[in-house]
Symmetry: D3
Subunit: 133 residues, 6 copies
Amino acid sequence: MATVKLIEYAQASPEVRAVYDDIMATRKIDAINNFWKALASHPPTLRRTWETLKSVMAPGALDPLTKEMVYLAVSATNGCDYCTASHTASARKQGMTDAMLGELMAVVGMANETNRLADGYQVEIDELFLRRD
Amino acid sequence: MATVKLIEYAQASPEVRAVYDDIMATRKIDAINNFWKALASHPPTLRRTWETLKSVMAPGALDPLTKEMVYLAVSATNGCDYCTASHTASARKQGMTDAMLGELMAVVGMANETNRLADGYQVEIDELFLRRD
Amino acid sequence: MATVKLIEYAQASPEVRAVYDDIMATRKIDAINNFWKALASHPPTLRRTWETLKSVMAPGALDPLTKEMVYLAVSATNGCDYCTASHTASARKQGMTDAMLGELMAVVGMANETNRLADGYQVEIDELFLRRD
Amino acid sequence: MATVKLIEYAQASPEVRAVYDDIMATRKIDAINNFWKALASHPPTLRRTWETLKSVMAPGALDPLTKEMVYLAVSATNGCDYCTASHTASARKQGMTDAMLGELMAVVGMANETNRLADGYQVEIDELFLRRD
Amino acid sequence: MATVKLIEYAQASPEVRAVYDDIMATRKIDAINNFWKALASHPPTLRRTWETLKSVMAPGALDPLTKEMVYLAVSATNGCDYCTASHTASARKQGMTDAMLGELMAVVGMANETNRLADGYQVEIDELFLRRD
Amino acid sequence: MATVKLIEYAQASPEVRAVYDDIMATRKIDAINNFWKALASHPPTLRRTWETLKSVMAPGALDPLTKEMVYLAVSATNGCDYCTASHTASARKQGMTDAMLGELMAVVGMANETNRLADGYQVEIDELFLRRD
């Protein structure tokens, strides 16, 4: 159970409803998921988080599916259950197939393994990896 | 300084050299970076890690650039300096532009923020995110 | 279900009971929560952990509410469900309001975001941040 | 060395300069630290991150010193060197004494220890910690 | 609920069944646990992960019980519920007593505490800890 | 550079010297490493941390070498450079060979990989792993 009361649309203040309306319009959905209902316990965090998320996840130099898969990779690495569930669902909606999910998780697993090997052996960064302007 | 002696090609056993040769041939490079020289202190780990990495990072349902960016996202999330440096370099080699790196880091930052908000408020997973067969 | 048998007061050894009694007296409560019942499976860990916690969380240069909020910030960052639930409850008991929790989580979210941006871009520490005696 | 070119004020675009000017005016300082110079490689991330940080860290239900100490606690937990250095400096500027830093780190250490004990024994959350409306 | 369909033996392809058969033969068990059934959604990951695990966990310079306890220490540190449950069970099967588990968790807790103290104070590595060939 | 002034023996208070003396006597060494010199900036943390470490790392149901290797496994997983360097040195002093270090790191890498696969696929814990009294 969340540590704050979830704010339902019916009880929401106009400020919160405006964000909820924008979430539903942007995503073409007709219900708000629990994450936003929890953030609504602190309206400035709700508004800022939604606005940042909306612009960060919009199509740009990277397409929305790639962004969703990166989001999922980070969420799995952090062991965040809520985010793993919601971004797996979002990525599937954007077109992620089982084969893509399988390869994504294989990369996530491998990166987590080699990150700890590099840290565990305290390997020094090679000259060739340094940025050159 | 690494906690194990780095194994240079000249001093390497035939088993280690075979892996080094395959790394250089596969990646079309003519030198081995420190990560592999450290793993070579334990030849079975060197061989297994290289073979897994080689097949995980090969083109498949996801293209190599996407895989490199996911690897970088995980490495930044784990705060692994070596891996962040090496996979930023690899992703650039595969075509990652500054604009793509900027968007990638924005997604990584955002995911790390919302992962902790979801965990911090202990938000329950919505029914609609559960897998349906 | 915990991976060890929880030790109830009725079955506890005198050594464990002494710690339980001190926890209840110090906190002015009349029941022991599951964390301590699990640690009691290894009495030296129970005793050491309680004694350290008791002195670390006592009022000092920082007040108990600030300490509870820091504890919650760390627990949310680590994604520890048990600790997030128990320290949210403790902080509320010490006077944390919904507005304070909202701002606390906003700082936690922001810190997690910028930590990964600083790591992801491998930003070098500025001279001005170094300690000067 | 950062993986992107740091953007100095002299070379910055008007959009980036506007953010730099606001950072210096808000903080009453006359130089920009490396974190922002790295974010400036992607101007939308620079602007969004600064604007969020500015409002999240402003005085509110929590005072700025408490917020800086929470930021430091998260940065130490994540092992982010840059953020630990910069937020230790900021917290000292806001009035954190050696005694306060000592107690802060003691809480951070303790929370990290008990987080892993609770996770390691898979302790179930007690009924009494659950939110009641 | 897992984000992929678990593959039961009866529905498994010959490739997946071959891995399942080897898992059951190697471990002298007659059922497959959920982890492998989830990995089977991507057969190359199933095969590679099992083969690596099988050789990494085999007796060598370290005995299987020590390896299981190290696995558990990492899983508790990462807060992975599934892995903590399964490796606590495996370690007990290999002979881990309650006293050993108690001492293991005490070391895990202590290491997590001092890791963050060393990072939080940014302690520099002493010369005497550097490798000497 | 550490964020606090390191306390050298010559400048230390009697309380701090007593801890330093016990560290040197217990470990049969004649110098204090930087970690303790940093903790000495807050004497109660120095004393508590040393006393806990001394009893946690003493021989018991687990031998000191196993404890040092578990400590190293956690430190590598957390990416703590200082702790990785110091506990690699301590483990070698206790008899860890290159072959043992190689196997240890292989287990650490593997555990970090499978932790994230289990979390990424949200695998449910099997009945058979649950504790039975």
